[in-house]
């Protein structure tokens, strides 16, 4: 059994490029892409807002930003704001420049606002869309009012909202109304995490990406190390390795590399997120790995049966079960979160997330569900494996 295990692990690590890619991908995705995917309602950034223009339009724009529940706003002086950024007390500063409303009225779009933030704060940088959004909102409102004033008799009140939305979409496409703001990066004195404040979605997203990649990794590994199994089984049967040793060794060999990979990935990500994983987390990662190790083994068996449509029926059910869960969660991020489903590993992912975020979760129920799934999958897998052995001998 140990020999099978040793070789299975060796087979897994034999494709070094693949292993390196799958190890680096979640880290890269997290660092470069994830902040821009953050859902509108859950992320929070702290911003100091200075309104130099102080007109009705600029005040409205400021109010829009202040009302945004993603933003914690401050009204500090310029100097205090800069100090706050340097100390990481606030994420950034928004200065609405003098002449803001005049420029809007003239259709000018340069130097309207200035954003100041720490050069290390990738998260803040990627969220600058928020300010664009509100600018458009304000601009459309102004243009609409202007339009209404000029064409008072022509405006149909019932179509007002529709007209507003149309103009908003139209503006977004117009090059002349590209929002142009000055970005000033300043060096921060203290190290900064890419996640500022309590950002639940960010953590969930990171873990989601890592775990999703683990699924893919496990699948590929199994495809690579289970090829041409007929001859292999024949040779193993004539060797000194019996079925049980082979089956269990094979299974553990799928699980252990995934566990190592997952643990390392999460540890690397902890450097970026500042989260410290405890021993319990590692234990749950092992359970998760066992779960997806089994699932991927099952899926490989499904692919191998692909010549025979009749034998595929149980696997169609499996596919519907897995992808059904994804389809029911139509939101993009829900796919990564894999939450609320009966997909193997999803419950464990929720438990680990709850550890990191200190949130309440019914761990016992999730664990029971996971172990039931593990048991069912292990039994199906071993029986299928045994059937393969029997087929060789029949």
């Amino acid at each position: 059994m140990l020999k099978m295990l040793k070789w299975k692990i060796k087979m897994f690590y034999s494709n070094k490029i693949l292993v390196a890619l799958l190890f680096l991908m979640p880290v890269l995705i997290t660092v470069f892409i994830s902040p821009s995917l953050i859902d509108d309602n859950t992320s929070e950034i702290s911003v100091n807002i200075i309104d130099e223009d102080n007109t009705e339009i600029s005040r409205n724009y400021k109010k829009r930003i202040e009302d945004d529940n993603r933003i914690i706003h401050y009204e500090l002086s310029y100097e205090k704001g800069i100090k706050g950024i340097e100390k990481n007390d606030i994420s950034g500063m928004l200065i609405i420049k003098e002449g803001f409303s005049k420029k809007i009225k003239r259709g000018q779009n340069n130097d309207l606002v200035e954003l100041i933030y720490s050069k290390d704060d990738y998260y803040f940088k990627s969220l600058s869309d928020i300010f664009v959004q509100h600018y458009f909102g304000e601009l459309v409102k102004y243009r609409n009012i202007d339009y209404v004033l000029k064409n008072y008799d022509l405006v149909d009140e019932n179509n007002y909202k529709e007209e507003y939305e149309n103009q908003y979409e139209k503006l977004k496409k117009e090059n002349s109304y590209q929002f142009d703001f000055i970005k000033t990066e300043i060096g921060s004195r203290e190290s900064i995490n890419i996640v500022t404040g309590t950002n639940i979605l960010m953590y969930r997203y990171i873990i989601g990406v890592v775990f999703l990649l683990a699924y893919i990794l496990c699948l590929i590994q199994n495809i690579e190390s289970n090829i041409k199994k007929q001859g292999m089984i024949e040779k193993i049967m004539l060797s000194k390795v019996n079925f049980l040793h082979y089956g269990i060794g094979n299974l553990l060999g799928s699980v252990i590399p995934i566990s190592i990979n997952l643990t390392l990935q999460l540890l690397v990500l902890s450097i970026f997120t500042g989260v410290i994983f405890n021993l319990n987390t590692v234990l749950y990662i092992l359970i998760f790995s066992l779960s997806i190790g089994l699932l991927s083994n099952l899926l490989i068996k499904m692919f191998k049966k692909s010549e025979n449509m009749y034998l595929m029926i149980p696997y169609y059910i499996l596919i519907i079960w897995i992808f059904g869960n994804v389809l029911f969660n139509l939101e993009f991020l829900s796919v990564f979160n894999l939450s609320g489903s009966i997909m193997p590993g999803a419950g464990i992912k929720d438990i680990i997330t709850s550890f990191i975020l200190n949130t309440e979760i019914d761990i016992k129920a999730k664990i029971i569900k996971e172990f039931v799934m593990i048991l069912v999958m292990a039994l199906i897998l071993l029986s299928l494996e045994y059937k393969e052995f029997k087929n060789v001998t029949s």
Partner: protein, 234 residues
């Protein structure tokens, strides 16, 4: 010395008859070729011989069954190799699985030299040609220094030059005292190699003997290939 004897052997799979009334024997040191078109039961015959599969009816007499089964080197029809591992690692894997004793490195190097693959062992199997893969498969079967080498279609799908090199290898192994039993659907390649051929047709053996006996039985037909075609078309 008689090594193994099939006595009135029948084999069924899911109520379908695969082999019927099979009788033949193999002696130590022979090269035996089991010939027939695809799907005729050649692999099943080998499977019964190795003990991987059980007879439905009849019996197989071994001179010493335990001794026979521990001295087998088996080359399956499909390459049983891990493409992402090197040739050395593949042999190393089978070395561990087969529980071979002694220095692993030395043994693998020895096999590499024997198969003329010594300089290729560090390369990944995915970079090997079909012939090299087949040789490596044979190498894996030779790791425990077997007395009997059983090969399922070792030349299938290979070009003529590679086929000949495999057949030369078979000859060399036989000259070193190994009994070689293999299946093939190429009749010509057996001609200068086999001490005995077994022709299978319609679940039965239609000929069991050497090529001279086959030629004598059909004196009016010129070549072995024509006899083979005559037998399978009649």
């Amino acid at each position: 010395m008689l090594l193994v004897e099939f006595k009135n052997v029948y084999k069924k799979y899911r109520n379908e008859s695969i082999l019927e009334n099979i009788n033949f024997s193999i002696e130590k040191g022979q090269v035996v070729g089991i010939i027939g078109p695809n799907g005729i039961g050649k692999s099943t015959t080998l499977s019964l011989l190795t003990g991987l599969s059980k007879v439905t009816e009849g019996e197989i007499d071994y001179y010493d069954k335990k001794d026979f089964q521990t001295k087998i080197g088996y080359v399956p029809q499909n390459n049983a190799l891990y493409e992402n591992l090197s040739g050395f690692d593949n042999l190393s894997f089978y070395y561990d699985i087969l529980g071979v004793k002694g220095s692993k490195k030395e043994k693998i190097k020895e096999i590499g030299r024997y198969l003329d693959l010594e300089n290729q062992l560090d390369k990944k199997v995915s970079k090997y040609s079909g012939g090299m893969k087949r040789k490596l498969d044979i190498g894996a079967a030779l790791l425990n220094d077997p007395d009997i080498l059983i090969m399922d279609e070792p030349t299938a799908g290979l070009d003529i030059v590679t086929r000949n090199s495999i057949l030369d290898l078979v000859k060399k192994l036989n000259e070193e005292g190994k009994t070689v039993i293999f299946t093939s659907h190429y009749v010509n390649e057996m001609k200068n190699l086999c001490d005995k051929i077994i022709l299978l047709k319609d679940r039965n053996i239609i000929f069991d003997g050497n090529f001279n006996e086959l030629a004598l039985r059909y004196p009016n037909i010129e070549s072995i290939e024509e006899i083979y075609l005559y037998l399978y078309n009649s």
